[in-house]
């Protein structure tokens, strides 16, 4: 059992949904990311998705694109990101961390080398948004050998065959993309979530985490009632981006995660009482 699976099992026992914030490594700087990782853990995150900045992020909207550009301008290279991860693990960051990484970064470093270094840096899993089932067999095997969970994504457009295959092959959880579109905060929660989760649930017993377009505490609360995990990215990145300095960025991120934590836990608590 991986640390990611353990976390979902424990939360299930507690009747809680996992809260999984996303931040871009090196946005605005790597030292800020280091401080943010601890702040997210202390404010109630159950695991963290750490985005590796990429020049051409096809699955991302303007907020994450911009964060990536800033990180790259400020020198967030992959060796430096691995080194930062090793440091935060030495300093005691204990919750699971997954890399959200575009496949070219993995391919260019060499799949084995990238995965070796990720594992040695204390990474627990990988989400590769442009590596669909058809292309992932090799990475999947190499990741498993190193104890890394390769998390597959499913979308509202996924066919029953693809859902079944992701259910067999995904490790840790399944990343359910809430809408047909790119990442980014939306005013309203996608109506596609509930029917999609129902279809995926029928095919697999893996934990299901929902991401894309979740920005407000009430969105997080609504998703927590339906899924095992709630992923919040762009809305958090926006708060970090808008802060006047890095200390304030950490404070605002922490306050935002606390508000989401509360909403997620209360949603389950209320529905348990009502139900």
């Amino acid at each position: 059992m991986s640390r990611i699976s353990d976390t979902f099992t424990r939360l299930k026992g507690e009747g809680r949904a996992a809260l999984m914030p996303y931040i871009t490594a090196g946005h605005p700087t790597l030292p800020a990311t280091e401080a943010l990782l601890f702040a997210l853990e202390e404010s109630g995150a159950d695991m963290i998705e750490l985005g590796i900045p990429y020049s051409d992020p096809l699955a991302d909207g303007p907020t994450v694109q911009r964060a990536g550009q800033i990180a790259l301008q400020n020198g967030a290279t992959i060796p430096r990101i691995h080194a930062m991860m090793r440091r935060v693990r030495e300093q005691g960051l204990s919750i699971p961390v997954l890399y959200m990484v575009y496949y070219n970064c993995v391919f260019r470093h060499g799949e084995e080398r990238f995965l070796d270094e990720a594992a040695a840096s204390g990474i627990d899993g990988l989400i590769i948004p442009d590596l669909p089932l058809e292309e992932a067999e090799e990475v999947e095997g190499l990741a498993a050998e190193r104890g890394l969970d390769l998390v597959y994504l499913l979308a509202p457009t996924s066919t029953p065959e693809r859902i079944a295959e992701a259910g067999r092959r995904s490790r840790g959880f399944i990343y359910c993309v809430s809408l047909t579109g790119v990442t980014g905060a939306r005013d309203r929660l996608s109506a596609a979530i509930e029917p999609m989760l129902r279809r995926i649930r029928e095919a697999t017993s893996l934990p299901l985490a929902v991401g894309f377009g979740i920005s407000r505490p009430e969105h997080a609360a609504a998703v927590a009632k339906l899924a095992d995990g709630v992923i919040v990215g762009s809305a958090l990145v926006e708060r970090i981006d808008e802060a006047p300095d890095e200390t304030e960025a950490v404070n605002r991120a922490a306050a935002y995660i606390r508000s989401l934590r509360l909403a997620v836990d209360q949603a389950r608590f209320r529905s348990a009482n009502v139900g």
Binding site: F107, R108, H109, A155, T159
Partner: protein, 400 residues
């Protein structure tokens, strides 16, 4: 599921489908629709009719006597894709894809464009068939190719300037893919080159292969023998794949792809993905690309907006590694000289993209000597480039 699809999706180790999950069902649908259409005589008849009646095919294979005399080597033939409706080879593909989009019941069309030639060809067929059209174009390119922006708008398309990244073709393609991810149910994405995830590189090559089929028949009819070489410029590489394809089995015919060396291959301002790139993934396919040690895509540079792209179609990478085709590069200055030479010697103003093929074709003709004959693909006409060339010549202090 994985095996059957991966094999057809690859040219050797190149190609594939590196896209978000949201798009995978759409690519499967597209592949199925394309394979059905390809084998449907009614579809092929309809396409042939539009190519003839609307675009004016077959395009001539023209013996360029004054250029041949000037170079003093092989006889040079020009395949006149510039004489297509809209002024370039791009319409061969947009006609094919719009007929396919209609078959699939899509109401909305999106496209990316660099120089604007593909955008114009897409806007044109959308006007012809009454479909909504959105074209993504890098902000930098909207400036360099303002005339084409106006042409697209005149044709009823909405041109969306892209301000992310390097603000050129690479980023326009990213933005078009993001639009497709969001609107995949009602939208067909007409990719303009032999790039992108499977089935695009195969499908676009097939639609462009009419160039080589015609050229092969024409040169046999005119001279009774095959050419010694075929030369075409390569950005993404659609005009080159189009003219190469019919000649691939003819092993005696040398195939030359000409990349943009920009300010020089040893500078960081070029667009020579095959000559100077490394293996990687860009826009859904594995191929040679320009990237740094971390896999970050690097900006390309070329005087020609249409070649200003840090990747290349996966089949070109395969032809390079298998040795069937040879890839060379031509600088901005050499292309500019060829642009002027062809204008002056033949009364044909080529697109700056095509001028790269002309520049290398002239060198090659000289090397091969008078017994040989070659075909240079004139992929488009140069009207769109006249203002840019005038500005560059003025900066250089060149008086014509």
């Amino acid at each position: 599921m994985a095996k059957a699809q991966t094999q057809a999706a690859y040219f050797g180790e190149f190609g594939g489908q590196f896209v978000p999950e949201v798009l995978m069902p759409a690519l499967t649908e597209l592949e199925r629709a394309y394979l059905e259409a390809k084998d449907d005589p009614a579809f092929q008849r309809e396409l042939a009719e539009h190519l003839a009646e609307y675009s004016g095919r077959a395009t001539p294979l023209y013996r360029a006597d004054r250029l041949t005399g000037y170079v003093g080597g092989a006889t040079i033939y020009l395949k006149r894709e510039d004489l297509n409706h809209t002024g370039s080879h791009k319409i061969n593909n947009t006609l094919g894809q719009i007929l396919l989009a209609r078959r699939m019941g899509k109401q909305r069309i999106i496209a990316e464009t660099g120089a604007g030639q593909h955008g114009v060809a897409t806007a044109t067929v959308c006007a012809r068939f009454g479909l909504e059209c959105v074209v993504y174009m890098g902000e930098e390119d909207t400036r360099r190719q303002a005339l084409n922006v106006f042409r697209m708008e005149l044709l009823g398309a909405r041109v969306h300037p892209v301000t992310s990244g390097t603000r050129t073709l690479k980023d326009a393609t990213n933005e078009a893919i993001r639009d497709w991810v969001a609107n995949v149910q009602n939208t067909h994405y007409i990719i303009g080159s032999v790039v992108g995830p499977h089935p695009y590189p195969t499908m676009v090559r097939d639609f462009q292969s009419v160039i080589g089929k015609e050229a092969r028949e024409q040169i046999l009819a005119k001279t009774g023998r095959l050419p010694d070489a075929v030369v075409a410029c390569v950005g993404g590489g659609s005009n080159a794949m189009g003219i190469f394809h019919a000649f691939i089995p003819d092993e005696a015919v040398a195939l030359y792809g000409v990349e943009a060396a920009g300010e020089g291959l040893d500078t960081d301002r070029h667009a020579a993905s095959i000559s100077r790139g490394t293996k990687g993934i860009l826009h859904g396919a594995k191929s040679y690309i320009l990237q740094d040690a971390d896999g970050q895509i690097q900006g390309a540079h070329s005087i020609s907006a249409g070649l200003d792209y840090p990747g290349v179609g996966p089949e070109h990478s395969y032809l390079k590694d298998s040795g069937r085709a040879t890839y060379v590069a031509v600088t901005d200055d050499e292309a500019l000289q060829a642009f002027i030479d062809l204008s002056r010697l033949e009364g044909i103003i080529p697109a700056l993209e095509s001028a790269h093929a002309v520049a290398y074709g002239m060198k090659l003709a000289k090397e091969l000597g008078p017994q040989a004959q070659i075909i240079i693909n004139i992929s488009g006409r140069g009207d769109k480039d006249v203002a840019e060339v005038a500005a560059v010549l003025e900066r250089k202090g060149v008086v014509l």
